[in-house]
Subunit: 249 residues, 2 copies
Amino acid sequence: MTNLRFTIQYDGTRYDGWQRQDNTGSTIQGKLEHVLGEMVGHAVEIHGAGRTDAGVHARAQIAHCKLNTALSPREIRDYCNRYLPEDIAVTACDQADERFHARLNATGKRYVYRLWTDAVPNVFERRFVCPWERALDLDAMRRAAAQVCGTHDFRAFSSNKRMKKSTMRTVTRLDIERIGGEVRLTFEGDGFLYNMVRILAGTLVEIGQGDRAPDSIPAILDSCDRAQAGITLPARGLILDEVFYSVDF
Amino acid sequence: MTNLRFTIQYDGTRYDGWQRQDNTGSTIQGKLEHVLGEMVGHAVEIHGAGRTDAGVHARAQIAHCKLNTALSPREIRDYCNRYLPEDIAVTACDQADERFHARLNATGKRYVYRLWTDAVPNVFERRFVCPWERALDLDAMRRAAAQVCGTHDFRAFSSNKRMKKSTMRTVTRLDIERIGGEVRLTFEGDGFLYNMVRILAGTLVEIGQGDRAPDSIPAILDSCDRAQAGITLPARGLILDEVFYSVDF
């Protein structure tokens, strides 16, 4: 068996997220396992670095998978792209160290949340941006973003009520930029809790609208109470942009 | 009645082109006339600068239309964007001179044809590029493009067999650029015959592949014979990028 590392791009609009479900729904993992399984003639399990939710996109999701095949990584990549639906692509396939695990070895991730704030819609990017009509004060959002950065208990920013594992995470970067008609939020950190990026983005948007104070983040963090944080923004504006690994892999 | 000038953006993938058809098919013109008719309560006719074919996109199609309404141009724009499907948007609406006619007053147009030549597909741009696997010699294509520019009888580059009007046209610009994994062809001219951009692009691609000589354009033009020119490339890679008017409008 060869351990392979895949870089995967997808438009998540039509899918029920990354993770395979039992007999229901259409998932990215399910589509990949089906195509790879047909290719090698045995059952295949592919492990993604992050389990993106329904409707969330990825520019460069990373996954690994053990295959019994004589095909080269490039042949595997091209086979996948021939048989995958056109909203999923394998942008790279490389032989990996046999110990490489896409999720366990990931040291961090970058997510991008894209708000479309222009008065007229963007037809060409519509599947990848969340339309937002109200004006946003980016300076207020940036002041709040600075308080998000660092190592904190992010329990208040997660929808998972039965979280038993640690909810401590480190956010290393939270940039807020205006790019034409778009407001783009870029999040980097060692890991993100369930819905954490979308709730952080929703809280920052409420601050940008003036519905919350820019200095309200520390109290929300301290509360460990989901009800104290802002709304969960829609999936369509969220993109898993990159997964980071240490130089060992 | 107020004469209004509309700038319209659309993803043509789902449509049978710009032009309204009698009771069959879904067209951009039909969608706009329906929404505007509901808004003003009378039958509406909207005239586009160019009748894009099924599957062709527009970044800035121009159209005019006479409406009996007290709404401001901005209110009309916002009403349209509220009720149009999300693959069509009115990016601008302005009051126009009562003599302004979007098609008759147009002095030129810019079309862009986008080929995706990378070995891996582009998921996010897939609706707006034509995948092309074979390698293209851009220098050969540029030598041929220089012979396309100028005033010629372009009958050989049109699919319209019963063309009675003049087939003389002037191409003022034909640029060929590589942008990342994309080869982009930009056409400007005073007007384009039916399928002319897609047949010119197909002929240039055949030259880029080495299937035709770079200096073969003059003989094709002279022949006035569609069969001498290259293939018609698919609609999906074609975008009506801009329509030009004289300063009078």
